[in-house]
């Protein structure tokens, strides 16, 4: 459905000016290779600056890569970037083009610009607004809506005028659970009825684990892993995460606790440890009994998440995917 080969884009270095430090050359996407299958929800996961947006801009024909090829449904997007608009619908992070329109006019105009006839555009607009529960807001300007509602209205605009591929850049950011569910059921319906494929850019690890069929993890412009969420988690199945929260400070006078200090990531009163299951059991036994217990406020034992996978794969500076 969508094949990406050797996609590379380098931003030239920027000379520093007064008050603006110089930035070196940045390789935003580095030899990216991906295959997205028809009808799947494919995720791009990675921290800020990992190259997700640059990659998406190259896939949607908004940016020309330095090297490499992008083929969507048999069309060469690098050579014919204008064809991308006729194959895919893109929901970017910005809504400035639609902000001052009413929800209804934003959806209708987008449909018209996607080549629908006036009557079709109106009919699809009504159907999509109804489907997403936006009918009561149809007459309101996007600018006057809350962040999540505005996002949902932009999503509605992206759905008017059917396309076989939806490219969604953080579609549910700022949404409440009801709106989120509306988005995913709309996506699922299109997938079941028309085999629509979805490329999703996300920060949200929990959402990624529940909705994605496959995920590519990006780090500094490179794909460092690509598999199903479960498949990725199996790579770090040997580890569990132990979180220890101390009442005031860690009881370093207890030798077992002092020995753990080097391996713990400390954040205030919280220690996070990644351990083998056996070891974790010993640690829990140590801190829940004996001298350390008096200093312990809370503890949790969790199986690995995609966040742990990212860290285990050597993600940038061990800072994690999301700022919790």
């Amino acid at each position: 459905m969508c094949a990406v080969r050797g996609l590379t884009k380098t931003y030239p270095p920027v000379r520093g000016r007064r008050g603006v430090p110089a930035t070196p050359e940045v390789r935003a996407t580095d030899d990216v290779r991906l295959d997205i299958r028809r009808g799947e929800i494919f995720g791009l996961l990675g921290p800020n600056g990992a190259g997700k947006t640059t990659l998406v801009r190259q896939l949607t024909g908004l940016m020309r890569p330095d090297h490499g090829s992008v083929e969507i449904l048999g069309h060469d997007i690098v050579r014919h970037p204008e064809r991308a608009a006729r194959i895919l619908a893109y929901l970017g992070q910005e809504s400035t083009a639609l902000d001052e329109l009413t929800v209804s006019l934003a959806a209708e105009t987008t449909g018209r610009l996607r080549g629908l006839e006036a009557a079709e555009a109106r009919a699809e607009r009504d159907a999509v607004l109804e489907e997403l529960g936006l009918t009561s807001l149809a007459g309101r300007a996007l600018r006057k809506l809350s962040g999540g509602q505005r996002r949902l209205a932009c999503f509605a605009a992206a759905l008017v005028g059917e396309r076989p591929l939806l490219v969604l850049d953080e579609p549910t950011s700022g949404m409440d659970p009801v709106a989120r569910r509306a988005v995913w059921s709309a996506v699922d319906r299109r997938r079941a009825e028309r085999g629509t494929t979805v490329l999703l850019v996300t920060h949200n690890v929990i959402e990624a684990e529940t909705v994605l069929d496959r995920v590519a993890v990006l780090d500094r412009g490179r794909v460092i892993a690509c598999d199903t969420p479960t498949g990725l988690k199996e790579q770090v199945a040997g580890e569990v995460r132990v979180d220890l929260v101390w009442r005031e400070a860690a009881p370093l006078h207890v030798p077992e606790v002092a020995a753990l200090q080097d391996r713990a990531v400390e954040s205030g009163r919280r220690w996070t440890l990644r351990l083998a299951p056996e070891e974790a059991r010993t640690v829990v036994a140590t801190v829940t009994g004996g001298a350390a217990f008096a200093a312990l406020d809370d503890f949790t034992l969790t199986t690995p998440s995609l966040e742990d996978v990212y860290l285990a794969l050597g993600g940038a500076a061990q800072q994690g995917l999301v700022k919790a």
Binding site: R86, I87, L113
Partner: protein
């Protein structure tokens, strides 16, 4: 046994199977006119919601200038220039200044991506937006022109010429505004250029040309709004020379075509980097 060939049965998939490995069919392209109308309609509704206070500002500004000039100018050709200049100034304020700001901000915030990922001809986006901003100036320009005529005792007979002046001067100034907005590397620069363009239209259009030094007069000749002002001013006379009016309007139209073409090119350049 059925005598209907399998190809014509509903749900027959033969044709589809044959093309599975081929490139998929592309979605429809938006044609120029329907897309232009859709953009125009959306932009006009946007302008109605967000720009009405600014239209008031533009109109009051022009009316205020005319009242000020009332004490300086003593009728005749100068009064005609003041009324025509103030009327076209409303067009310059909205079409040049506000449109430059709009496109500058749209480009900087990534809002152009929305249009760039729709199969719409670049000309439709630029012309639709320029047309909407130009139409939006109509009430303010008409109010200013009528008020000026009454104030300076000029005839209202030929004010119908505004029907040609507004779209043609509007095209020239909106094209210029869109091009400035789309070419400026930063949105603040787009705003600055739009403001400067409007100030130029104010100083060079409203003040009577006879009192200006040669250099300023040359600058005045280079500004497209001047020709709209001249065309309108000529029609206030007792026996307007329609050939010259047409000539001035033709210059506006020509500049309009060129500047809108430049704006369309600038849009294409800004949309795909």
């Amino acid at each position: 046994m059925s005598v209907v060939p399998v190809e014509v049965l509903p749900g027959s998939t033969l044709a589809v199977e044959g093309t599975v490995r081929e490139a998929a069919e592309l979605g429809p392209r938006a044609r120029l006119w329907p897309a232009l109308v859709a953009v125009y309609r959306a932009q006009l509704s946007r302008a109605r919601v967000a720009r009405i206070p600014l239209l008031f500002v533009a109109t009051f500004q022009s009316v205020g200038i005319m009242i000020l000039m009332r004490g300086v100018v003593d009728g005749g050709a100068e009064a005609q220039a003041v009324v025509a200049g103030s009327s076209v100034l409303v067009v310059a304020f909205v079409a040049l200044n506000l449109l430059a700001q709009y496109f500058g901000q749209l480009r900087a915030s990534g809002g152009l991506d929305h249009y760039a990922t729709l199969p719409v001809p670049p000309a439709a986006v630029v012309l639709g937006a320029a047309g909407a901003y130009a139409s939006f100036t109509v009430p303010g320009t008409v109010v200013t022109a009528v008020f000026g005529c009454v104030l300076f005792g000029l005839p209202l007979t030929h004010l119908w010429v505004l029907l040609a002046v507004i779209p043609l001067a509007g095209a020239a100034l909106a094209g210029l505004g869109a091009a400035l907005g789309l070419l400026a590397p930063r949105p603040e620069l787009a705003t600055l250029l739009g403001q400067l363009g409007m100030s130029a239209a104010l100083l060079l259009g409203v003040l009577p040309a006879e009192r200006m030094p040669e250099v300023v007069r040359l600058a005045r000749d280079l500004l497209p709004s001047t020709y709209g002002v001249e065309a309108l001013a000529r029609t206030f006379g007792p026996d307007p020379d329609w050939a010259l009016v047409l000539g001035d309007l033709a210059v506006c139209g020509g500049v309009g075509v060129v500047s809108l073409a430049v704006a369309t090119w600038a849009y294409r350049r800004a949309a795909v980097r």
